[in-house]
Amino acid sequence: MRWMWIDRIVELVPKERMVAIKQISMAEEHLHDHFPSTPTRKAMPVMPMSLIVEGMAQTAGVLVGHAEDFKQKVVLAKVSKAKLTKDATPGCTLRYTATIEQFTTAGASTKGIVELIEPSATGEGNVEVIGQIDLLFSHLDNNMGGVEYPEENFVFSESFKTLMETSGIEANF
């Protein structure tokens, strides 16, 4: 099973935009090992920002892969920008919105917004934009170096198929 950092796709506008969510749970083992403190608050379990970047990479990567029916091997090539302004703690939901900025045979660039939804007793929680993550993806078979890779699409594994099916999106790969 691939390490998945999104739980559900909640919106997909093909070749344009995708929104996915990630519920942060205290049951996740990595939170037990990641207890940073800051000058203004004591140590507490916090979702590592590197994994938030990975969540956005998976969101944007599925969007880019879906644009060509998952025939391309889409790999994260560059984190062009990653800025996060607030910690995400257990009980919160992360909402990733990825938008395709440019798309060519060689790859794609995406813009991403990260929102943090704080839980509340009455239902809809407080939503706050906490970051921007812009990424660059390469279509591996069209790489500039001319390197050849196996024919099988090893990027979009069974885990991604499961994610799409549980999100109610057809996955024929």
Partner: protein
């Protein structure tokens, strides 16, 4: 658009894409050697140029691909006459004087200067 204006926009793009300082982006600076660009950065820079100037850049149009792996174009560590001819046709925005003087394969990346990038954009804008 004036050449100096094109340079200013390219300087901004390179500072953003390659995380270098303004003063490192000179006309003579090579993208790969001096500014540390990797192959994926070329794609990033292409995307940013397209957005900034509004033209399309085909894959391999900005910087030639796969040349050093092609035995037709490289022999015993030197770019062949056929390779040089192909480069001149495919990427006419480069200055080939130094590569012609010493066609060692490691010199291919040295022709990709900021000045070449400015010329490339100037020619694309004129053709539009």
């Amino acid at each position: 658009m004036e050449r100096s204006e094109i340079f200013d926009k390219i300087q901004e793009i390179l500072v953003d894409a390659l995380a270098v300082d303004d003063d490192e982006v000179t006309n003579e600076a090579t993208l790969i050697g001096d500014l540390g660009a990797e192959s994926i950065d070329i794609l990033d820079i292409s995307f940013k140029l397209e957005q900034e100037f509004g033209f399309k850049i085909e894959q391999g149009e900005l910087f030639p691909e796969g040349i050093t792996q092609d035995p037709d174009y490289v022999e015993a560590g030197k770019v062949t006459a056929k390779g040089l001819q192909m480069l001149k046709e495919r990427v006419p925005h480069f200055n080939f004087t130094d590569l012609e003087a010493d066609p060692s394969v490691e010199n291919v990346s040295k022709i990709f200067t900021v000045e070449a990038l400015v010329t490339f954009c100037e020619q694309k804008l004129q053709a539009a």
